[in-house]
Subunit: 204 residues, 2 copies
DNA sequence: ACCATCATGGTACGGTCGTATCACCAAGGA
DNA sequence: TCCTTGGTGATACGACCGTACCATGATGGT
């Protein structure tokens, strides 16, 4: 067997190119030729590693989700050793806001994919259920831990507050994306609600 | 002058057709031929009343926003004479949730348009700033009135809570749209936060 | 050393999309 | 009455898109 190129690496490169060009011109406007040009390869190559556009888009979604997960993890790790639940939740929520180019791209494309998934049955809607649910479980778990440790008021419902915070983060993110408000304003609103939840305890 | 057809009526009919077919198959998937077929007219007619697709889409957005405004107004009016601020806010927020086919369509298409506006400079981003701002002002005004009347705790910030509620409503709406949660769950979460805001007062 | 095979390039094909063009009808003012 | 003009239909055009097909290096196992 000749040449032996790592297909996974190549596919990741092409998926990266898809995400880049889609972030610039919009997911609806990207064709396979655009992706090929962005990746610096020929159209045939894109066809070779992904047989069809549908598979390319699907892979792009997974690539996007994976990259975002890594981003969030990195943010959480970066806040230091044994941080309080509030710091972790804050890092989680802030990472989801479109503050820099990467998060902006993520928010735009993830929303585009979600919209596509509603009408196109070829694009599975499952990632848009599972991923948010996982995030919800994580935040709810952290809140419950905080509540058990007495860091929050006794009347907070961890699950409800987790849902609220994530929904707010998503909604505020869209507002930032379309230019309705700045990232600082969104962060302030989130911070206000974290203050409310953690008002009875102290945090590190 | 012959025939005398009311252009505004015709354009509204075609815009309605655009919204219907886009709600079914996704905004990205609709062409002028689809709109013509849905409206029961020829392609030429769509071209005649809207010269270009860009203008058709723009008119569709305005049509959508106007229809939604009327829907919200109707909901608010329907709750009876001189309702309390909480009831009005609740009606506002609930009307935005994708509960029936019409609100589902609105949420899907408005999100699609917003995503388009981010990358396509032809589609003005202004509606996605002005409309949310107007909603925000309305809710903030109602909250302030409630606070002045002693219906809320003295520590609630009307503007921040208005932003939060609308962002939550939008985020929850998306969650309902993609099937992550049911409309009842979203309504519960919103109700929980309204309870919190109005916890110190009584409402009618 | 050879050849099966992975990897890659170039290009053509069918379809669709937005838009433009040509033709026709109908009606009301001169 | 006739002719100007608004409304409508059918169809053509050029561009682009996703996909398929054909050709050809390059390479490693035997």
């Amino acid at each position: 067997m000749p040449k032996h190129v790592d297909h996974d690496v190549r596919r990741a490169e092409i998926a990266e190119a898809l995400v880049r060009v889609a972030g610039r011109r919009g997911l609806h406007a990207v064709g396979m030729r655009d992706v090929a040009a962005e990746a610096g390869v020929s159209l045939r190559l894109v066809q070779y590693y992904f047989q069809t556009k549908e598979k390319l888009l699907l892979h792009g979604l997974h690539h996007l989700a994976r990259g975002f997960g890594e981003r969030v993890t990195a943010r959480v790790v970066a806040i230091g050793d044994d941080p309080g639940p509030r710091a972790v939740i804050e890092a989680l929520l802030m990472a989801a806001l479109p503050t820099d180019e990467e998060s902006r791209r993520f928010h735009l494309l993830y929303t585009s994919y979600a919209v596509l998934a509603v009408t196109d049955e070829s694009l599975a809607a499952q990632p848009f259920i599972d991923n948010p649910n996982a995030a919800e479980d994580t935040v709810a778990g952290l809140l419950q831990k905080a509540k058990d440790a007495g860091l929050t008021g006794p009347d907070v419902d961890a699950r409800t507050e987790a849902i609220s915070l994530l929904a707010m983060s998503a909604g505020l993110g869209t507002g930032v994306l379309v230019g309705q408000r700045g990232p600082e304003s969104a962060a302030d609103v989130l911070g206000h609600h974290l203050d409310r939840i953690f008002q009875d305890g102290r945090d590190g």
